[in-house]
């Protein structure tokens, strides 16, 4: 069973992470979903695959009425990100899912149509949530060719999708990164293999380093906070990625 844990709260504005599902089937990768709530407006980031939908739904229900979720955000098109869309629409046909314009005609394979999908332009956009604003920040080619992160300037939280993801062993599977050097070892293989473009990576690092980020929240693994955020950005900027590092030839 997944659990919901509040990671930020300021009045009615809050971020809740739905994480750690020991009961999930081993064949399915564990994911973090984040609920952003503000004055009754609810947005869920990367709501996950259909097989984990019951667990996400149930964990959310301890915090809000899941039927009241109005917005979904899909950082990209992967099945672990958004294949539950059809089920969410089943619960609330008025739900709107924000996703890169690149995927707005692909994602309906998981459910939904032009009314349920809102296409984010390549340059990104901002959107109001309750009395505040959130921003869809471009992170193309990291790893998907149409890829966005979500930034909440008031909470100073960046939801970074697959960037920052780590495949931690169960004994080190903490909600927040505690020992950066130890943790980052579990992120290295993933970033080398999944992030294909040095140019895109440096572009993102440059942009992220200019943002005020208290927490960097990936879709898999632990959350980076405080100084670990900048540590991560610097580590990522240095990390060799792309085809030249990929030993696929026999």
């Amino acid at each position: 069973m997944k659990t919901a844990q509040t990671i930020y709260q300021e009045g009615s504005h809050r971020w809740v992470v739905i994480a750690r599902d020991p009961s999930k089937p081993d064949c399915v990768i564990d994911t973090n979903e984040y609920l952003i709530s503000r004055e009754g407006d609810n947005l869920l980031t990367d709501p996950g695959g259909s097989e984990i939908f019951p667990a996400v739904f149930a964990a959310l229900s301890t915090i809000v009425d899941p039927m009241a979720i109005r917005y979904l955000f899909a950082s990209h098109q992967d099945p672990d990100i958004i294949s539950s869309l059809g089920l969410w629409l089943e619960c609330n046909p008025d739900i709107r899912c924000y996703v890169s314009r690149l995927w707005s005609t692909f994602i309906p394979h998981f459910g939904g149509d032009e009314n349920s999908l809102a296409a984010i332009p390549d340059e990104g956009m901002s959107m109001s949530l309750g009395s505040g604003q959130i921003e869809y920040v471009p992170a193309h080619f990291l790893h998907s060719s149409g890829n966005f992160h979500l930034y909440d300037p008031d909470a100073r939280i960046l939801f970074s999708g697959d960037v920052g993801a780590a495949m931690t062993p169960p004994e080190e599977d903490e909600l927040f990164v505690r020992d950066f050097d130890k943790h980052i070892r579990h992120a290295e293989g993933f970033h080398r293999r999944w992030m294909g473009s040095t140019e895109a990576k440096l572009d993102w690092c440059e942009r992220a380093s200019r943002m005020k980020i208290d927490m960097l929240c990936p879709q898999h693994g632990s959350i980076y906070q405080g100084d670990d955020v900048m540590r991560f950005i610097n580590w990522f900027a240095e990390l060799p990625v792309g085809l030249s590092t990929f030993r696929h030839r026999r």
């Binding site: 939908f53 089920l87 089943e90 619960c91």
Partner: protein, 202 residues
């Protein structure tokens, strides 16, 4: 509710309708062979003239029988296609139902809105199940028609054998053709029977 989605039934049904489609292809092939054979028989009867008048009439009957059988099989195939579509939809719905049900069971106090979603799911499921049932009944009716058609075919191919006996110098050729007719029709009947039992078993 009696119509709770069960994945096992639907995938079994799907396999049944796919098999039906394969069976239909077999029958259509034999019907085509009968058609060609009957055409040749009509020409042969024409050459034989007076002595094969009856044989010619029977061959024409067999030819229209093959056309009718082909049309019937086409209708069956359309229905089987429809059924496969409906059941695929059912399978998809079953998966969604299973996941929504699991979510509802995990939630401590499911809201009335969530309960409504489940009720709608079940209603929709019953509706499609009902449509599959209707298609199956229609298929069985058509299979029954096909069976009758084949029984009629058996009877007239026997008459063809008798008519061949009056064929004088063409007697041998006509007897051979009538023998082949009989064999082909005998080949179709078990296929039709198999299709019927395959459908009724559910």
């Amino acid at each position: 509710m009696s119509n709770k989605p069960t994945h096992k039934t639907s995938s079994g049904e799907l396999a049944g309708f796919v098999r039906l489609n394969e069976g239909i292809k077999g029958v259509v092939l034999i019907a085509f062979q009968i058609n060609i054979m009957a055409l040749n028989a009509i020409l042969l009867a024409h050459r034989a003239g007076e002595v094969a008048l009856g044989f010619g009439v029977i061959s024409k009957e067999l030819r229209s029988l093959s056309v009718e059988l082909t049309a019937l099989m086409q209708e069956l195939s359309n229905d089987a296609y429809l059924a496969v579509n409906l059941i695929s939809d059912l399978l998809r719905q079953e998966r969604r139902y299973r996941l929504l049900k699991k979510a509802t069971d995990l939630v401590a106090n499911p809201s009335p809105a969530l309960r409504d979603v489940m009720v709608r799911r079940e209603e929709e499921f019953s509706l499609i199940t009902q449509r599959v049932r209707e298609v199956r009944l229609r298929l069985l009716d058509r299979l029954e028609d096909a069976r009758k058609l084949c029984q009629f075919g058996t009877a007239i191919s026997r008459s063809a054998k008798i008519e061949a006996a009056y064929g004088r110098e063409y007697g041998r050729a006509l007897a051979e053709v009538s023998q082949e007719f009989d064999q082909k029709i005998q080949n179709i009947l078990p296929s039709i029977e198999a299709l019927c039992t395959g459908m009724q078993r559910r």
